[in-house]
């Protein structure tokens, strides 16, 4: 019986203390850009590590971070951070009438918390404070008196604790709708008020040019008017405050500011393979370290499935091609159509070889793993499927998409079966971990509820499975060098499907295939190109290659395979009983 992998939630940064976050932090290549003094949007689905990145800018995380790059990064963060988390509860408690006011109060509360941190010698864990500031009692009273006046919280003791108490009371009044409309905070722009308060604090501490960064987690949960306030600030705010936000790939309200010009943009989905590989290898090393295992590179620790009685495509390309040609007549025809002779491969130029043989090799391995052949025609094997395309370092890295939560869950499972005599995880346990993760992710998609206000009838799981089955069909029929493996959301797609797609995008089931003219953050899904998360492509009978492919219109995919499929399907899905 296999051990169950830990729940996704175990590795959720929301439930980790700053110390725990910094202890397991593996610095991605884009972190230095994020740390810089520009406004920054970090865009990614759930589990992609957004909260971890923001939390790493928190003083306690920075000061407790022991990593190789820690000193350099710590030295470059010469601004103080105000961390404002958001969550579903926070979002659902906001209403049209109270959201602006509640947000303002929450920001000011987080600001005073940051001040309390900075004015302490050590944090609550005993680490020295990041950018500490000394403030006398008289100056504290002076600053708090200014805030009491500006925030309209009369009868408050002029102390940091007094301000926190007053703001807490304001939240209570907002909840019970007791706050009168004429309250000074009700009509104030939250960003202006925060800027004013920062200036006041900088003045009393004699640090007029000190910068602060407001870290807003899960911006997509904030109501529209908060989006507008933030975007407006990003476009023309003051110098003493920078904003770093994390946000889902799809957000209807986050447009207006211009990437590069107004802010740095970091997309956590669809990173280059090199970046994903670097992060995955780092997290592998971290997982080994946490279990006190000898450090072994991912490439050595995850051997691939052995070839089943056929030439290995890595060492004997020509032999492998000959093997496939002999079995798959559709591939043989494709080669013939391009006048490629197997015996004359050496005569092909490098570019010709790249455009033909090298390009199709992963697809041939994928097909060989899943298909049998009868009279040269492919059919889907019901048993004895090979896991070769889904095991080993590269497929594992691709399947995990650079998603830290997935990577940690999968590696945690694999390391339960780590052979310490060879320092490897056998291919069987690799695929166990990945397949179990994929099934659990499917379960998550099944249970992830929508808000009632956007309840619809198309479920994310149905949409995912319908597309996956289409991709499976498209890749296992008669051989094509560039089969469909992506889709475009065309105008014929219903609103209900678009809703399910945006929820799936938020969860990480779909990945936008961005192009040069893509918006920084999607505000309209129609017309855009997507693929399924590669992780979902390892599931039984829904396999598809872990690579990009040609597009199909989503409305066509949802109709089911084209009429011609009937013929092919009977070939593909026949059972080798």
């Amino acid at each position: 019986m296999t051990q169950a992998s830990p729940p996704f939630d175990t590795f959720n940064a929301k439930r980790l203390t700053p110390i725990e976050v910094s202890r397991t932090f593996v610095m991605p290549s884009y972190f230095p850009s994020m740390v810089g003094k520009d406004h920054c949007y970090v865009v990614g689905p759930r589990g992609s590590g957004k909260t971890t990145l923001l939390k790493m800018l928190h003083g306690t995380s920075l000061m407790s971070w022991q990593g190789r790059e820690a000193d350099a990064v710590r030295g470059s963060v010469d601004y103080s951070t105000i961390f404002l988390p958001a969550d579903e509860l926070w979002a659902r408690q906001s209403s049209d009438t109270n959201s602006g006011l509640a947000f303002t109060v929450q920001i000011l509360y987080a600001f005073i918390e940051a001040i309390v941190y900075r004015t302490s010698l050590t944090d609550s864990y005993g680490y020295p404070t990041h950018l500490p500031v000394d403030i006398s009692h008289d100056l504290e009273v002076d600053f708090c008196t200014q805030c009491i006046s500006a925030w309209g919280v009369a009868d408050t003791n002029p102390s940091f604790q007094g301000l926190l108490g007053a703001l807490d009371l304001l939240l209570l009044k907002i909840s019970s709708q007791q706050l009168i409309d004429g309250h000074p905070l009700a009509g104030a722009d939250p960003m202006d008020l925060l800027s004013f308060s920062i200036r006041a604090f900088n003045r009393v501490t004699g640090q007029q040019s000190h910068q602060w960064a407001l870290l807003l987690d899960e911006m997509e949960l904030a109501p529209p008017d908060i989006h507008r306030a933030v975007v407006s600030y990003v476009r023309g705010g003051t110098a003493n405050l920078i904003i770093k936000i994390t946000i889902s790939p799809f957000d209807r309200y986050m447009h207006g500011a211009i990437p590069v010009h107004d802010f740095q943009l970091i997309h956590l989905s669809g990173q280059s393979y090199r970046e994903i590989k670097s992060l995955t290898s780092g997290l592998w090393a971290e997982s080994l370290r946490a279990r006190n295992y000898k450090q072994t590179a991912l490439e050595e620790a995850l051997p691939t499935y052995p070839s089943r009685g056929r030439p290995d495509y890595r060492t004997d390309q020509k032999g492998f091609l000959a093997y496939v040609i002999a079995r798959d007549h559709t591939f043989a025809s494709w080669l013939k159509g391009r006048r490629i002779e197997i015996d004359q491969l050496e005569k092909l130029s490098y570019n010709e070889k790249s455009a033909t043989i090298r390009k199709v090799m992963p697809l041939l391995v994928f097909r060989d793993a899943l298909l049998g052949y009868r009279d040269g025609k492919p059919f889907r094997r019901s048993r004895k499927k090979s896991y070769e395309p889904f095991t080993g370092p590269a497929p594992t890295t691709r399947a995990l998409e650079g998603n830290p939560r997935w990577i940690k869950v999968a590696f945690s499972h694999m390391l339960n079966y780590y052979d310490t005599s060879t320092n490897t995880v056998s291919p069987g346990f690799q695929i166990d971990a990945i397949a179990q993760l994929a099934n659990r992710f499917e379960s998550l998609l099944r249970v992830l509820p929508r808000r009632e206000s956007s309840a619809a009838e198309t479920s994310v799981v149905w949409l995912v499975n319908t597309i996956a089955e289409y991709m499976n069909w498209a890749n296992l029929g008669a051989f094509k060098a560039d089969p469909i493996n992506c889709f475009v959301v065309d105008p014929a797609v219903s609103d209900s499907v678009v809703d399910a797609l945006s929820l799936g995008l938020y969860a990480g089931a779909f990945v936008q295939v961005r192009h040069r003219r893509s918006d920084a953050i999607l505000s309209d899904i129609r017309g855009e190109r997507f693929r399924l998360a590669y992780l979902l492509g390892v599931r039984d009978r829904r396999e598809y290659p872990l690579r990009l492919g040609k597009d199909a219109a989503l409305s066509d995919i949802l109709k089911g395979p084209p009429a011609s499929r009937t013929v092919h399907q009977s070939l593909q899905l026949g059972l080798d009983l």
């Binding site: 939630d9 509860l89 209570l172 249970v447 509820p449 929508r450």
Partner: protein, 307 residues
């Protein structure tokens, strides 16, 4: 604080509210011939099908007033304003959670300036029907039961603590935990009553229970509102300062009612109460009554609200 009492069908209430729904058990008390000066059977949009028509005929033939929720709430409000000593009985067995929330809100707000006693009745469902009904596999939605139960807004730096009532529904607990990403989760598992119900619920949530700290797992009786209330109230009292609490009851309505009563009693730091349920249309499944009726008297007002 609720007080469990023995159900006595001979008691004549001034105001009796039940549900005319698609479950057979929604008409159980009508079939038992309960008494009331005013008897209202409430119908809800979207709760047709199964044995709804049969129930409707039964209520009509028994001279119950068939009405909707708004009318019932308005009639109750008027009745209470005339005489706070009215004896009121509410059968929550087949009642949607948002409707239970409306009644609790009405009584709690009325009870802030007068004393009021309400008898809540609950007819547990039979195992087979409950089990079938819980296994509908549909897209789900989740949200606060109502604005009143959205919970007090508190600084988001305070972590979320989630209290989940486990029932026979296979996905809801996992879904709500995934959605809300709590720092800590407490699980309430059913005990007593039909053992099959208890065993199936434990088996269904085996992984969740296995991975949870045993100190964070509680039992509640599906027959005792007072015990469920007491356990929840104690937990909220001890953890409310450190967590923004959300209660997400699935399973028996009695537990949902207990959650709402606990939340309504806390003015200054009200926990949120959420519902997780099917977001689409589904084929209604009739649930028969198990046969017994749990009764609890709840006093609203006449006591200081907890901070």
């Amino acid at each position: 604080m609720p007080r469990d009492v023995i159900f006595d069908k001979s008691v004549v209430y001034d105001f009796f509210v039940a549900t005319c729904g698609y479950e057979r058990r929604s008409s159980y008390l009508c079939r038992l011939g309960v008494f009331g000066s005013t008897r209202m059977a409430v119908t809800y949009a979207g709760t047709r099908g199964a044995v709804y028509e049969e129930n409707l005929r039964l209520y009509s033939n028994s001279k119950w007033e068939i009405t909707d929720l708004d009318n019932t709430i308005a009639a109750l409000r008027t009745a209470i304003s005339v005489n706070a000593n009215y004896s009121i009985a509410i059968d929550v067995s087949s009642m949607p959670r948002y409707a239970i929330g409306r009644f609790v809100e009405l009584f709690a707000s009325t009870g802030s300036h007068t004393s009021l006693q309400v008898t809540f009745l609950y007819c547990p469902g039979d195992f087979t029907g409950s089990s079938l009904a819980a296994n509908i596999d549909e897209p789900m939605s989740a949200d606060a039961v109502s604005k009143y139960f959205a919970g007090t807004i508190r600084p988001p730096s305070i972590p979320i603590g989630l209290i989940v009532g486990l029932g026979l529904e296979p996905y809801r607990a996992a879904g709500i935990i995934e959605l809300l990403e709590p720092a800590r989760t407490w699980l309430f598992t059913p005990s007593q009553g039909d053992l099959r119900f208890v065993e199936k619920s434990l088996a269904m949530h085996h992984d969740l229970l296995r991975l949870s700290d045993p100190d964070d797992i509680f039992e509640y009786s599906v027959r005792s509102l007072a015990k469920a209330f007491s356990a929840l109230e104690s937990l909220c009292f001890s953890t409310g300062l450190h967590y923004r609490l959300i209660m997400a009851p699935s399973g028996p309505k009695l537990f949902s009612l207990a959650c709402m009563l606990v939340a309504s009693a806390r003015d200054a730091s009200r926990p949120a109460v959420w519902r997780v349920g099917s977001s689409g249309r589904f084929d209604p499944v009739s649930v028969d009554e198990a046969g017994d009726v749990s009764a609890s008297v709840v006093s609203f007002g006449g006591r200081s609200h907890r901070k």
